[in-house]
C-alpha cells in the first residue's frame, strides 16, 4: 500500500460517501465526479492507461455533466430536503447494501479469473487493447460503432424540425394579429 494508492482511494471513498450524504444535489453530483476521477486514478495506478483515460473522458467528462444537467433542468438546484438525511428505513437499507457488497466481494474473491492476476499483474498497453479490438472483438466493436453513429445521427434528426411542422408553427403569427402601435 503506497502513498499514491492511499490518496486515490481516500479521494474515491470520501467522494462516494459525500455523494450520498450531502444535502445539496449539485454538491452530490460534484462529489460523484470527484469519486469517479479518483477511480480513474486507481486504474492508472494499476497501469491500465486506456481504461483510466476512458473513465476520465466518459464519466468525468460526460456522465457527470449529464447528471448536473439533469439536476438543473428538472428541479431547482437550491431545493434541499427538509427532514434529516436518513429516514426510518436506513437500517434495512444498510443491511441490504452490506449484503449486496458482500456478495460481490465474495464472488470476486472466489472467481478463477482473478487468481492468476494476483501474482503477476498483466500489463494492458494501449497497443494490445487495440489489437484485440481489431482482431478478436472486431464484430462487437463494429456493432457498437454502428449503434453509436446511428444514435448520433438519430439525435440530429430528432433535433431537426421538419419543414412542414415548422411552417405550421410559424403560420399563426400573421401581422394582423398584432395590434398596431
Amino acid at each position: 500500500m503506497t502513498a499514491d494508492f492511499l490518496i486515490l482511494s481516500l479521494l474515491t471513498l470520501v467522494g462516494a460517501v459525500a455523494a450520498v450524504s450531502l444535502r445539496n444535489l449539485v454538491h452530490c453530483a460534484l462529489a460523484l465526479a470527484a469519486a469517479l476521477a479518483g477511480l480513474a486514478g486507481l486504474y492508472l495506478h494499476l497501469q491500465a492507461q486506456f481504461v483510466g483515460f476512458a473513465q476520465l473522458l466518459v464519466y468525468v467528462g460526460a456522465v457527470a455533466i449529464l447528471i448536473v444537467f439533469a439536476i438543473l433542468l428538472t428541479r431547482g438546484s437550491d431545493s434541499e430536503p427538509d427532514g434529516p438525511p436518513a429516514t426510518r428505513g436506513w437500517v434495512p437499507g444498510a443491511g441490504l447494501a452490506a449484503a449486496a457488497a458482500g456478495l460481490v466481494v465474495a464472488a470476486i474473491l472466489s472467481s478463477r479469473a482473478l487468481a492468476p492476476s494476483l501474482q503477476s499483474s498483466p500489463e494492458a498497453p494501449v497497443r494490445a487493447i487495440g489489437e484485440q479490438l481489431m482482431t478478436r472483438y472486431v464484430l462487437a466493436l463494429e456493432l457498437i460503432g454502428i449503434l453509436l453513429t446511428a444514435a448520433l445521427i438519430g439525435a440530429v434528426i430528432i433535433a431537426m424540425t421538419l419543414p412542414s411542422r415548422r411552417s405550421a408553427e410559424h403560420k399563426p403569427q400573421s401581422r394582423t394579429s398584432i395590434p398596431d402601435l
Partner: protein, 395 residues
C-alpha cells in the same frame, strides 16, 4: 552544430539532473527530470500567455485602425506586467450568496487540467514531458474536466448571467467535442498510433519539396479546418464566445470572479487555446518538423513555437473579423454541418488509406469532400439556420 542547438535544452536538462544527483539519492532521478521538464514548460507557456495578451490587444487594435496599448514600456511591451500587478493587487470579491468552496475550487479545476494537457505535446525533438501510448486520449480526457470547472464557476456564483454562461458553455463544449475528436481520429487512423510523438514522426520527411504533413492531403486539410473550428469553440474563442459574450451576459461564468481568480480563468482559457492549437500542430501541421528541406538546421522547438504563434495570430485575426454566432446557429452549425462533414472526412481518410497511391485517390477524396462541403453548406444556408431570423413580436 545544428544538432547541438536542436538538443540544447535536452542536454542542459541531462547535465542539470546529473549535477543534482550528486546531492540527492539516485532514486530521485526520474522525479527530478520530470520536475525540470514541467517547470520549463510552465515558464515557457506562461511567458507565451503574457505575450499573447499583448499581441491580441495590439492586433485587434490594428485591425480596428487603432494603436493598441503603447504606453507601458517601449511599444507597450510591459503591458502584461502591469496587467499582472493589477490582477494580483486587486481585491478578491466573493458574493455573499456564493457557494464558497465550489467558487474557490472552480478556477483550479480549470487551470490544472489545461496545464496537464500540455504534458503530451512534443514541443521539439525529444522534448515531451511524457510520451504516453495513449497520449491523444490523455489530452481529451483531461480536457473533459474543464467543462466541469465551467459549470462549477457558473453555478457557485449564484448569478443568473453566470449560470446562463455556464449552461451555454457546457452545451457548446459537448457539441463541439464530437467533431473535434472525430477529426482527430482520422490522424490516428493514418498514423496507427495514439502517441503524439509517433504521430509527429509519421509526418517527418519530404517528398521533393513537400513535407509529409497531414494538412497537405485532402482529408488532412478538411480535418485541420474542422479541428480548428471545433478548437475555437472548445476554447470559447470568437466567434464562438457565447458563454462569455460581453455584450449580452457580461462575462458569463466568470462574472463574479475578480482579482487573481479572474486572472486564473484568463490564464486557463489561453493555455487551453495553446494546448489545443499545439495539438492541431502535432496532428496536422507536422509538429516540430521543418516545412522545407533546406531549413532543417533551424531547431525543432523554434518551428513548433513559430507554428503555435501563427495559429494564435490566426485566431486573433478571426476574432477581429467575425461577429458572435447566435445560440441556434451555433448548435445547427455543430450538429448539421460539422458532424456530418467530420463523418464524411472519416470515410475519405479510410478511402485514402486503401486506394492505391497516385492521382486517383487525390481526385477521389477531394471530390468527395468538396461535394460534401458544398452540399452541406448549401442546405445549411437554405434552411436559414445561418440566415435571417423572423421574430414574432419584435418586427
Amino acid at each position: 552544430m545544428a544538432e547541438k542547438l536542436d538538443q540544447i535544452f535536452v542536454q542542459a536538462k541531462h547535465e542539470l539532473v546529473r549535477w543534482l544527483l550528486c546531492h540527492v539519492p539516485g532514486a530521485w532521478a526520474e522525479v527530478l527530470s520530470a520536475l525540470l521538464s514541467i517547470a520549463t514548460l510552465l515558464v515557457a507557456f506562461a511567458a507565451l500567455f503574457a505575450l499573447t495578451t499583448l499581441l491580441e490587444r495590439k492586433g485587434l487594435g490594428r485591425i480596428q485602425n487603432r494603436y493598441g496599448p503603447n504606453r507601458v514600456g517601449p511599444f507597450g511591451l510591459l503591458q502584461p506586467v502591469a496587467d499582472g500587478i493589477k490582477a494580483l493587487t486587486k481585491e478578491d470579491v466573493v458574493p455573499r450568496a456564493a457557494d464558497q468552496v465550489v467558487h474557490f475550487i472552480a478556477p483550479l479545476v480549470l487551470v490544472v487540467p489545461v496545464f496537464l494537457a500540455l504534458a503530451v505535446l512534443p514541443v521539439g525533438r525529444n522534448m515531451v514531458v511524457v510520451d504516453l501510448d495513449a497520449g491523444l486520449l490523455f489530452f481529451f480526457a483531461v480536457g473533459a474536466a474543464t467543462e466541469l470547472s465551467v459549470f462549477m464557476a457558473g453555478w457557485s456564483s449564484r448569478n443568473k448571467y453566470s449560470l446562463l454562461g455556464a449552461m451555454r458553455a457546457i452545451a457548446q463544449m459537448i457539441s463541439y467535442e464530437v467533431p473535434l475528436i472525430l477529426s482527430a481520429v482520422t490522424v490516428v487512423m493514418m498514423a496507427g498510433s495514439l502517441s503524439t510523438v509517433r504521430i509527429v514522426e509519421v509526418q517527418a520527411g519530404f517528398s521533393g519539396w513537400l513535407p509529409h504533413w497531414h494538412v497537405l492531403t485532402p482529408w488532412g486539410l478538411a480535418g485541420f479546418l474542422l479541428f480548428l473550428i471545433a478548437a475555437a469553440a472548445e476554447a470559447n474563442r470568437c466567434p464562438f464566445d457565447l458563454p462569455e459574450g460581453e455584450s449580452e451576459i457580461i462575462a458569463g461564468y466568470y462574472i463574479e470572479y475578480s482579482g487573481f481568480k479572474f486572472a486564473l480563468f484568463f490564464l486557463g482559457e489561453y493555455i487551453g487555446l495553446f494546448a489545443v492549437s499545439g495539438l492541431a500542430i502535432t496532428l496536422f501541421l507536422g509538429g516540430w518538423t521543418a516545412p522545407l528541406p533546406f531549413v532543417q538546421w533551424v531547431p525543432s522547438y523554434v518551428w513548433f513555437f513559430l507554428k503555435l504563434l501563427s495559429l494564435i495570430a490566426f485566431f486573433i485575426w478571426v476574432r477581429g473579423t467575425l461577429p458572435r454566432l447566435r445560440m441556434d446557429q451555433l448548435m445547427s452549425f455543430a450538429w448539421k454541418f460539422m458532424l456530418p462533414l467530420s463523418l464524411i472526412n472519416l470515410l475519405a481518410a479510410g478511402l485514402w488509406r486503401f486506394l492505391p497511391e497516385g492521382l486517383t485517390r487525390w481526385a477521389f477524396c477531394s471530390l468527395l469532400l468538396a461535394a460534401a462541403y458544398i452540399g452541406l453548406g448549401r442546405s445549411l444556408v437554405q434552411r436559414r439556420n445561418l440566415g435571417r431570423r423572423t421574430y414574432r413580436f419584435a418586427e
